[in-house]
Amino acid sequence: MSCKRIFSFFLLVLTLSVASLPAFANEGAKEVKEGEKFNASEVIFGHISDAHEWHFFTAGDFHATLPLPVILYSPTKGVSVFSSSKFGHEGHREEYEGYRLVDENYKKELDAKGMAAADVKAIKDGSIVAADGSKVYDFSITKNVLSMFISVILLILIMTSVAKKYKKNHVMTAPSGFQNALEPIIVFVRDEVAKPNLGSKNYVRFMPLLLTVFFFIWINNMLGLFPGGANLTGNIAVTGCLALVSFLVMVFNGNKHFWGHLLNPPGVPIGVKLILVPIEIISLFIKPIALMIRLFANILAGHIIILSIVSIIFIFGKMGANPGGGFGFSVISVAFSIFMFFLELLVAAIQAFIFTNLTAVFVGQAIEEAHHHADEGGFDHAHSNEEIIL
Protein backbone atom coordinates (compact mmCIF):
# COMPACT_ATOMS: atom_id res chain seq x y z
CA MET A 1 0.00 0.00 0.00
CA SER A 2 1.43 3.34 -0.93
CA CYS A 3 1.86 6.07 1.64
CA LYS A 4 -0.96 8.12 0.14
CA ARG A 5 -3.46 5.28 0.42
CA ILE A 6 -2.48 4.60 4.02
CA PHE A 7 -2.99 8.27 4.83
CA SER A 8 -6.41 8.37 3.12
CA PHE A 9 -7.46 5.22 4.96
CA PHE A 10 -6.39 6.71 8.28
CA LEU A 11 -8.30 9.92 7.53
CA LEU A 12 -11.42 7.90 6.70
CA VAL A 13 -11.18 5.97 9.96
CA LEU A 14 -10.73 9.20 11.89
CA THR A 15 -13.77 10.83 10.30
CA LEU A 16 -15.95 7.81 10.90
CA SER A 17 -14.83 7.66 14.53
CA VAL A 18 -15.86 11.28 15.08
CA ALA A 19 -19.26 10.51 13.60
CA SER A 20 -19.84 7.52 15.87
CA LEU A 21 -18.48 9.21 18.96
CA PRO A 22 -21.78 10.63 20.31
CA ALA A 23 -23.23 7.12 20.54
CA PHE A 24 -20.12 5.68 22.20
CA ALA A 25 -19.45 8.51 24.57
CA ASN A 26 -22.98 9.24 25.64
CA GLU A 27 -23.06 6.28 28.00
CA GLY A 28 -23.48 8.57 30.99
CA ALA A 29 -26.94 7.06 31.53
CA LYS A 30 -27.85 9.96 33.77
CA GLU A 31 -30.33 12.31 32.12
CA VAL A 32 -28.21 15.46 32.06
CA LYS A 33 -30.60 18.35 32.37
CA GLU A 34 -30.04 21.56 30.44
CA GLY A 35 -27.57 23.83 32.15
CA GLU A 36 -26.32 21.10 34.45
CA LYS A 37 -22.57 20.52 34.40
CA PHE A 38 -21.27 17.26 32.97
CA ASN A 39 -20.21 15.14 35.92
CA ALA A 40 -17.11 13.50 34.50
CA SER A 41 -16.09 11.56 37.61
CA GLU A 42 -19.55 9.99 37.81
CA VAL A 43 -19.37 8.82 34.20
CA ILE A 44 -15.81 7.54 34.57
CA PHE A 45 -16.43 5.63 37.78
CA GLY A 46 -19.68 4.30 36.40
CA HIS A 47 -17.71 2.70 33.59
CA ILE A 48 -14.87 1.21 35.58
CA SER A 49 -16.83 0.00 38.60
CA ASP A 50 -18.57 -3.30 39.00
CA ALA A 51 -22.38 -3.16 38.87
CA HIS A 52 -25.41 -5.40 39.20
CA GLU A 53 -26.47 -4.64 35.63
CA TRP A 54 -24.50 -4.44 32.40
CA HIS A 55 -25.03 -1.07 30.74
CA PHE A 56 -23.87 -1.16 27.12
CA PHE A 57 -24.84 2.23 25.75
CA THR A 58 -27.47 4.96 25.80
CA ALA A 59 -28.99 6.26 22.58
CA GLY A 60 -31.13 9.25 23.43
CA ASP A 61 -33.79 7.89 25.77
CA PHE A 62 -33.04 4.23 25.17
CA HIS A 63 -30.78 2.56 27.72
CA ALA A 64 -29.33 -0.73 26.51
CA THR A 65 -28.93 -2.39 29.88
CA LEU A 66 -28.80 -6.07 30.74
CA PRO A 67 -30.09 -6.72 34.28
CA LEU A 68 -28.06 -9.42 36.00
CA PRO A 69 -29.09 -12.00 38.59
CA VAL A 70 -28.78 -10.96 42.21
CA ILE A 71 -27.95 -13.82 44.60
CA LEU A 72 -28.05 -12.90 48.26
CA TYR A 73 -27.72 -14.82 51.48
CA SER A 74 -28.89 -13.34 54.75
CA PRO A 75 -28.80 -15.28 58.06
CA THR A 76 -32.32 -14.02 58.80
CA LYS A 77 -33.98 -14.17 55.38
CA GLY A 78 -32.15 -17.08 53.75
CA VAL A 79 -31.15 -17.22 50.10
CA SER A 80 -32.78 -14.79 47.66
CA VAL A 81 -32.31 -14.94 43.91
CA PHE A 82 -33.89 -12.36 41.63
CA SER A 83 -33.12 -10.13 38.67
CA SER A 84 -31.60 -6.74 39.40
CA SER A 85 -34.34 -5.15 37.29
CA LYS A 86 -36.62 -5.64 40.33
CA PHE A 87 -34.71 -2.79 41.93
CA GLY A 88 -36.03 -0.37 39.30
CA HIS A 89 -34.19 1.85 36.88
CA GLU A 90 -31.24 4.06 37.58
CA GLY A 91 -32.32 7.12 39.48
CA HIS A 92 -35.50 5.49 40.79
CA ARG A 93 -34.27 2.53 42.82
CA GLU A 94 -36.87 0.85 45.00
CA GLU A 95 -36.77 -1.64 47.81
CA TYR A 96 -37.33 -5.27 46.92
CA GLU A 97 -37.81 -8.12 49.41
CA GLY A 98 -36.23 -6.02 52.12
CA TYR A 99 -33.07 -5.23 50.16
CA ARG A 100 -31.94 -1.88 48.78
CA LEU A 101 -29.45 -1.07 46.03
CA VAL A 102 -27.26 1.76 47.29
CA ASP A 103 -27.15 4.92 45.21
CA GLU A 104 -27.07 8.62 46.03
CA ASN A 105 -30.83 8.80 46.64
CA TYR A 106 -30.52 6.04 49.25
CA LYS A 107 -27.57 7.81 50.81
CA LYS A 108 -29.60 11.03 51.00
CA GLU A 109 -32.37 9.05 52.73
CA LEU A 110 -29.88 7.73 55.27
CA ASP A 111 -28.58 11.25 55.80
CA ALA A 112 -32.13 12.49 56.39
CA LYS A 113 -32.71 9.66 58.88
CA GLY A 114 -29.77 10.97 60.85
CA MET A 115 -26.97 8.50 60.16
CA ALA A 116 -23.47 9.91 60.73
CA ALA A 117 -21.92 11.37 57.58
CA ALA A 118 -18.80 9.21 57.84
CA ASP A 119 -20.95 6.06 58.08
CA VAL A 120 -23.00 7.07 55.06
CA LYS A 121 -19.83 7.71 53.06
CA ALA A 122 -18.48 4.28 54.00
CA ILE A 123 -21.31 2.42 52.28
CA LYS A 124 -20.20 1.47 48.77
CA ASP A 125 -22.23 2.83 45.88
CA GLY A 126 -23.87 0.02 43.95
CA SER A 127 -23.74 -2.51 46.77
CA ILE A 128 -26.81 -4.18 48.23
CA VAL A 129 -27.84 -3.64 51.84
CA ALA A 130 -30.71 -4.94 53.89
CA ALA A 131 -33.29 -2.27 54.65
CA ASP A 132 -33.23 -3.19 58.33
CA GLY A 133 -29.45 -3.13 58.49
CA SER A 134 -28.87 -6.89 58.97
CA LYS A 135 -25.87 -8.66 57.46
CA VAL A 136 -26.13 -9.56 53.77
CA TYR A 137 -23.70 -11.80 51.84
CA ASP A 138 -23.67 -10.91 48.19
CA PHE A 139 -22.95 -13.75 45.75
CA SER A 140 -24.51 -12.06 42.73
CA ILE A 141 -23.47 -12.50 39.14
CA THR A 142 -22.27 -8.95 38.62
CA LYS A 143 -20.86 -7.41 35.44
CA ASN A 144 -17.32 -8.52 36.25
CA VAL A 145 -18.39 -12.08 37.08
CA LEU A 146 -20.33 -12.40 33.84
CA SER A 147 -17.40 -10.95 31.89
CA MET A 148 -15.10 -13.49 33.51
CA PHE A 149 -17.44 -16.34 32.57
CA ILE A 150 -17.50 -15.08 28.98
CA SER A 151 -13.73 -14.82 28.78
CA VAL A 152 -13.30 -18.27 30.36
CA ILE A 153 -15.70 -19.81 27.82
CA LEU A 154 -13.85 -18.00 25.02
CA LEU A 155 -10.50 -19.30 26.29
CA ILE A 156 -11.78 -22.87 26.62
CA LEU A 157 -13.24 -22.77 23.11
CA ILE A 158 -10.03 -21.44 21.58
CA MET A 159 -7.71 -23.78 23.42
CA THR A 160 -9.72 -26.98 23.06
CA SER A 161 -10.30 -26.39 19.35
CA VAL A 162 -6.55 -26.07 18.82
CA ALA A 163 -5.82 -29.01 21.13
CA LYS A 164 -8.23 -31.23 19.19
CA LYS A 165 -6.28 -30.53 16.04
CA TYR A 166 -3.10 -31.70 17.73
CA LYS A 167 -4.79 -34.86 18.96
CA LYS A 168 -6.07 -35.62 15.50
CA ASN A 169 -2.89 -34.93 13.57
CA HIS A 170 -0.34 -35.61 16.32
CA VAL A 171 2.75 -33.44 16.13
CA MET A 172 3.93 -34.77 12.80
CA THR A 173 1.96 -32.48 10.50
CA ALA A 174 2.52 -28.78 10.03
CA PRO A 175 0.22 -26.52 12.02
CA SER A 176 -2.77 -25.10 10.20
CA GLY A 177 -5.29 -22.35 10.82
CA PHE A 178 -5.44 -20.96 14.33
CA GLN A 179 -2.64 -23.27 15.48
CA ASN A 180 -0.34 -21.02 13.49
CA ALA A 181 -1.24 -18.09 15.69
CA LEU A 182 -1.21 -19.90 19.00
CA GLU A 183 1.90 -22.04 18.62
CA PRO A 184 4.47 -19.22 18.43
CA ILE A 185 2.98 -17.65 21.55
CA ILE A 186 3.06 -20.90 23.51
CA VAL A 187 6.59 -21.64 22.31
CA PHE A 188 7.56 -18.09 23.31
CA VAL A 189 6.22 -18.62 26.84
CA ARG A 190 8.04 -21.94 27.05
CA ASP A 191 11.40 -20.78 25.70
CA GLU A 192 11.64 -17.20 26.95
CA VAL A 193 9.72 -17.36 30.22
CA ALA A 194 9.57 -20.92 31.56
CA LYS A 195 12.86 -22.55 30.61
CA PRO A 196 15.25 -19.72 31.59
CA ASN A 197 13.60 -19.17 34.97
CA LEU A 198 12.53 -22.65 36.00
CA GLY A 199 15.34 -24.72 34.50
CA SER A 200 15.00 -27.23 31.70
CA LYS A 201 14.23 -30.08 34.10
CA ASN A 202 11.31 -28.66 36.06
CA TYR A 203 9.59 -26.26 33.74
CA VAL A 204 6.99 -28.70 32.39
CA ARG A 205 5.21 -28.87 35.74
CA PHE A 206 4.51 -25.16 35.69
CA MET A 207 3.66 -24.64 32.02
CA PRO A 208 -0.14 -24.97 32.54
CA LEU A 209 -0.05 -22.30 35.24
CA LEU A 210 2.07 -19.90 33.20
CA LEU A 211 0.06 -20.36 30.03
CA THR A 212 -3.26 -19.99 31.85
CA VAL A 213 -2.17 -16.83 33.63
CA PHE A 214 -0.77 -15.36 30.42
CA PHE A 215 -3.80 -15.97 28.22
CA PHE A 216 -6.34 -15.19 30.94
CA ILE A 217 -4.80 -11.79 31.66
CA TRP A 218 -4.27 -10.99 27.99
CA ILE A 219 -7.82 -11.85 26.91
CA ASN A 220 -9.42 -10.01 29.83
CA ASN A 221 -7.27 -6.93 29.26
CA MET A 222 -8.38 -6.84 25.65
CA LEU A 223 -12.06 -7.51 26.37
CA GLY A 224 -12.01 -4.57 28.78
CA LEU A 225 -10.99 -2.26 25.97
CA PHE A 226 -14.26 -2.71 24.07
CA PRO A 227 -16.69 0.18 24.54
CA GLY A 228 -19.33 -1.37 26.75
CA GLY A 229 -16.88 -4.00 28.01
CA ALA A 230 -16.33 -4.83 31.64
CA ASN A 231 -13.24 -3.66 33.51
CA LEU A 232 -12.18 -7.03 34.91
CA THR A 233 -8.40 -6.86 35.30
CA GLY A 234 -8.66 -3.26 36.48
CA ASN A 235 -10.40 -4.55 39.60
CA ILE A 236 -8.07 -5.04 42.52
CA ALA A 237 -9.99 -8.05 43.80
CA VAL A 238 -9.39 -9.93 40.55
CA THR A 239 -5.69 -9.10 40.32
CA GLY A 240 -5.43 -9.87 44.02
CA CYS A 241 -6.71 -13.40 43.41
CA LEU A 242 -4.30 -13.88 40.49
CA ALA A 243 -1.41 -12.71 42.67
CA LEU A 244 -2.63 -15.02 45.45
CA VAL A 245 -2.45 -17.97 43.08
CA SER A 246 1.14 -17.07 42.18
CA PHE A 247 1.98 -16.63 45.86
CA LEU A 248 0.53 -20.01 46.83
CA VAL A 249 2.39 -21.77 44.01
CA MET A 250 5.61 -20.06 45.15
CA VAL A 251 5.10 -20.96 48.80
CA PHE A 252 4.02 -24.57 48.29
CA ASN A 253 6.87 -25.27 45.89
CA GLY A 254 9.57 -23.72 48.01
CA ASN A 255 12.23 -26.26 48.89
CA LYS A 256 14.44 -26.44 51.97
CA HIS A 257 17.13 -24.36 50.29
CA PHE A 258 14.64 -21.54 49.67
CA TRP A 259 13.23 -21.46 53.19
CA GLY A 260 16.71 -21.85 54.61
CA HIS A 261 17.96 -18.81 52.76
CA LEU A 262 14.88 -16.88 53.80
CA LEU A 263 14.87 -17.58 57.51
CA ASN A 264 18.52 -18.35 58.15
CA PRO A 265 20.76 -16.75 55.54
CA PRO A 266 24.08 -18.59 55.57
CA GLY A 267 27.37 -16.82 56.12
CA VAL A 268 25.75 -13.77 57.72
CA PRO A 269 26.74 -12.42 61.18
CA ILE A 270 23.98 -12.54 63.76
CA GLY A 271 23.58 -8.79 63.94
CA VAL A 272 22.91 -8.43 60.25
CA LYS A 273 20.71 -11.54 60.37
CA LEU A 274 18.35 -9.82 62.82
CA ILE A 275 17.75 -7.07 60.27
CA LEU A 276 17.88 -9.29 57.21
CA VAL A 277 15.30 -11.92 58.17
CA PRO A 278 12.40 -9.44 58.66
CA ILE A 279 13.34 -7.81 55.37
CA GLU A 280 13.36 -11.20 53.65
CA ILE A 281 9.95 -12.06 55.12
CA ILE A 282 8.52 -8.72 54.03
CA SER A 283 9.94 -9.21 50.55
CA LEU A 284 8.23 -12.60 50.40
CA PHE A 285 4.87 -10.85 50.76
CA ILE A 286 5.75 -7.78 48.73
CA LYS A 287 6.25 -9.88 45.60
CA PRO A 288 2.58 -10.89 45.12
CA ILE A 289 1.38 -7.48 46.34
CA ALA A 290 3.49 -5.78 43.68
CA LEU A 291 2.14 -8.19 41.06
CA MET A 292 -1.39 -7.30 42.11
CA ILE A 293 -0.91 -3.54 42.11
CA ARG A 294 1.13 -3.44 38.91
CA LEU A 295 -1.53 -5.14 36.78
CA PHE A 296 -4.41 -3.32 38.49
CA ALA A 297 -2.87 0.13 38.19
CA ASN A 298 -1.76 -0.25 34.58
CA ILE A 299 -5.12 -1.44 33.28
CA LEU A 300 -7.21 0.91 35.45
CA ALA A 301 -5.10 3.93 34.54
CA GLY A 302 -5.45 3.11 30.84
CA HIS A 303 -9.23 2.92 31.10
CA ILE A 304 -9.45 6.14 33.10
CA ILE A 305 -7.27 8.02 30.63
CA ILE A 306 -9.36 6.97 27.64
CA LEU A 307 -12.61 7.78 29.45
CA SER A 308 -11.23 11.15 30.57
CA ILE A 309 -10.17 12.09 27.05
CA VAL A 310 -13.67 11.39 25.78
CA SER A 311 -15.25 13.18 28.75
CA ILE A 312 -13.29 16.33 27.93
CA ILE A 313 -15.44 16.68 24.82
CA PHE A 314 -18.54 16.94 26.95
CA ILE A 315 -16.91 19.18 29.53
CA PHE A 316 -15.94 21.60 26.78
CA GLY A 317 -19.38 21.29 25.24
CA LYS A 318 -21.08 22.34 28.45
CA MET A 319 -18.57 25.04 29.22
CA GLY A 320 -19.43 27.74 26.71
CA ALA A 321 -22.67 29.21 25.49
CA ASN A 322 -23.08 26.68 22.68
CA PRO A 323 -21.83 23.12 22.30
CA GLY A 324 -19.52 24.09 19.43
CA GLY A 325 -16.53 23.84 21.74
CA GLY A 326 -17.34 20.17 22.25
CA PHE A 327 -17.65 19.45 18.55
CA GLY A 328 -14.44 21.27 17.79
CA PHE A 329 -12.45 19.48 20.43
CA SER A 330 -13.81 16.09 19.46
CA VAL A 331 -11.34 15.79 16.56
CA ILE A 332 -8.31 16.14 18.83
CA SER A 333 -9.96 13.97 21.44
CA VAL A 334 -10.69 11.15 19.02
CA ALA A 335 -7.16 11.28 17.61
CA PHE A 336 -5.68 11.15 21.08
CA SER A 337 -7.96 8.37 22.22
CA ILE A 338 -7.10 6.29 19.14
CA PHE A 339 -3.45 6.65 20.12
CA MET A 340 -4.29 5.67 23.70
CA PHE A 341 -6.22 2.62 22.47
CA PHE A 342 -3.17 1.44 20.52
CA LEU A 343 -1.02 1.98 23.58
CA GLU A 344 -3.52 0.07 25.69
CA LEU A 345 -3.41 -2.87 23.28
CA LEU A 346 0.35 -2.94 23.75
CA VAL A 347 0.02 -2.61 27.51
CA ALA A 348 -2.51 -5.47 27.57
CA ALA A 349 0.03 -7.85 26.07
CA ILE A 350 3.00 -6.50 27.99
CA GLN A 351 1.28 -6.68 31.38
CA ALA A 352 0.22 -10.27 30.72
CA PHE A 353 3.81 -11.11 29.78
CA ILE A 354 5.26 -9.34 32.82
CA PHE A 355 2.87 -11.06 35.23
CA THR A 356 3.76 -14.43 33.75
CA ASN A 357 7.49 -13.67 33.67
CA LEU A 358 7.57 -12.54 37.29
CA THR A 359 5.54 -15.56 38.40
CA ALA A 360 8.10 -17.76 36.64
CA VAL A 361 10.96 -15.84 38.26
CA PHE A 362 9.49 -16.14 41.77
CA VAL A 363 8.66 -19.82 41.41
CA GLY A 364 12.12 -20.36 39.92
CA GLN A 365 13.68 -18.75 42.98
CA ALA A 366 11.62 -21.05 45.18
CA ILE A 367 12.59 -24.29 43.45
CA GLU A 368 16.23 -23.40 42.88
CA GLU A 369 18.67 -26.11 43.94
CA ALA A 370 21.60 -25.22 46.16
CA HIS A 371 24.58 -24.06 44.14
CA HIS A 372 28.06 -25.23 45.00
CA HIS A 373 30.55 -22.89 46.57
CA ALA A 374 34.27 -22.90 45.83
CA ASP A 375 36.57 -24.31 48.54
CA GLU A 376 39.55 -22.48 50.06
CA GLY A 377 41.82 -23.32 47.14
CA GLY A 378 39.44 -21.51 44.86
CA PHE A 379 38.46 -24.72 43.06
CA ASP A 380 34.80 -25.32 42.34
CA HIS A 381 34.57 -29.09 42.62
CA ALA A 382 31.02 -29.13 41.31
CA HIS A 383 32.28 -29.56 37.81
CA SER A 384 35.25 -31.84 38.06
CA ASN A 385 37.51 -33.27 40.67
CA GLU A 386 40.45 -32.73 38.42
CA GLU A 387 40.94 -29.08 37.84
CA ILE A 388 43.48 -28.01 35.31
CA ILE A 389 46.24 -26.14 37.11
CA LEU A 390 48.13 -23.74 34.93
Binding site: A297, N298, I304, V347, I354
Partner: protein, 83 residues
Protein backbone atom coordinates in the same frame (compact mmCIF):
# COMPACT_ATOMS: atom_id res chain seq x y z
CA UNK B 1 4.11 30.16 60.07
CA UNK B 2 0.85 32.05 60.27
CA UNK B 3 1.14 32.93 56.60
CA UNK B 4 1.32 29.21 55.80
CA UNK B 5 -1.65 28.62 58.08
CA UNK B 6 -3.70 31.29 56.38
CA UNK B 7 -2.84 29.95 52.95
CA UNK B 8 -3.68 26.39 53.93
CA UNK B 9 -6.99 27.43 55.47
CA UNK B 10 -7.86 29.24 52.29
CA UNK B 11 -7.20 26.15 50.20
CA UNK B 12 -10.35 24.12 50.61
CA UNK B 13 -9.90 20.61 49.34
CA UNK B 14 -6.19 20.31 50.00
CA UNK B 15 -6.52 16.58 49.58
CA UNK B 16 -7.60 17.04 45.98
CA UNK B 17 -4.73 19.43 45.32
CA UNK B 18 -2.29 17.01 46.96
CA UNK B 19 -3.61 14.16 44.85
CA UNK B 20 -3.30 16.11 41.64
CA UNK B 21 0.23 17.27 42.47
CA UNK B 22 1.19 13.72 43.38
CA UNK B 23 -0.08 12.38 40.08
CA UNK B 24 1.83 15.12 38.27
CA UNK B 25 5.05 14.22 40.08
CA UNK B 26 4.47 10.57 39.19
CA UNK B 27 4.12 11.52 35.52
CA UNK B 28 7.30 13.58 35.77
CA UNK B 29 9.18 10.66 37.30
CA UNK B 30 7.89 8.27 34.64
CA UNK B 31 9.00 10.65 31.91
CA UNK B 32 12.49 10.92 33.38
CA UNK B 33 12.84 7.20 33.95
CA UNK B 34 11.59 6.04 30.58
CA UNK B 35 13.59 8.76 28.87
CA UNK B 36 16.76 7.37 30.41
CA UNK B 37 15.81 3.85 29.40
CA UNK B 38 15.29 5.05 25.85
CA UNK B 39 18.59 6.91 25.88
CA UNK B 40 20.48 3.83 27.03
CA UNK B 41 18.73 1.64 24.49
CA UNK B 42 19.35 3.95 21.55
CA UNK B 43 23.01 4.40 22.44
CA UNK B 44 23.47 0.63 22.77
CA UNK B 45 21.85 0.02 19.40
CA UNK B 46 24.15 2.62 17.91
CA UNK B 47 27.15 0.79 19.33
CA UNK B 48 26.01 -2.67 18.24
CA UNK B 49 23.24 -2.73 15.63
CA UNK B 50 23.12 -6.56 15.53
CA UNK B 51 21.76 -6.63 19.08
CA UNK B 52 18.91 -4.28 18.21
CA UNK B 53 16.21 -6.93 18.68
CA UNK B 54 17.38 -7.97 22.17
CA UNK B 55 17.88 -4.38 23.23
CA UNK B 56 14.46 -3.37 21.96
CA UNK B 57 12.66 -6.07 23.94
CA UNK B 58 14.65 -5.30 27.10
CA UNK B 59 13.78 -1.64 26.69
CA UNK B 60 10.06 -2.33 26.39
CA UNK B 61 10.11 -4.69 29.37
CA UNK B 62 11.98 -2.24 31.59
CA UNK B 63 9.75 0.63 30.48
CA UNK B 64 6.71 -1.40 31.56
CA UNK B 65 8.18 -1.86 35.03
CA UNK B 66 8.94 1.85 35.41
CA UNK B 67 5.49 2.72 34.08
CA UNK B 68 3.94 0.37 36.65
CA UNK B 69 5.63 2.19 39.49
CA UNK B 70 4.55 5.57 38.14
CA UNK B 71 0.99 4.32 37.91
CA UNK B 72 1.09 3.31 41.61
CA UNK B 73 1.55 7.04 42.19
CA UNK B 74 -1.27 7.98 39.84
CA UNK B 75 -3.65 5.62 41.59
CA UNK B 76 -2.63 7.04 44.96
CA UNK B 77 -3.32 10.53 43.64
CA UNK B 78 -6.68 9.42 42.30
CA UNK B 79 -7.59 7.94 45.67
CA UNK B 80 -6.63 11.21 47.35
CA UNK B 81 -8.92 13.18 45.04
CA UNK B 82 -11.87 10.84 45.24
CA UNK B 83 -11.64 9.29 48.71
Amino acid sequence: MSLLNTVLLAIDGTAAAGGAIGAGVAALAAGLGIGQIGKGAVESIARQPEAAGDIRSSMILTAAFVEGVALFGVIAGLLAVVG
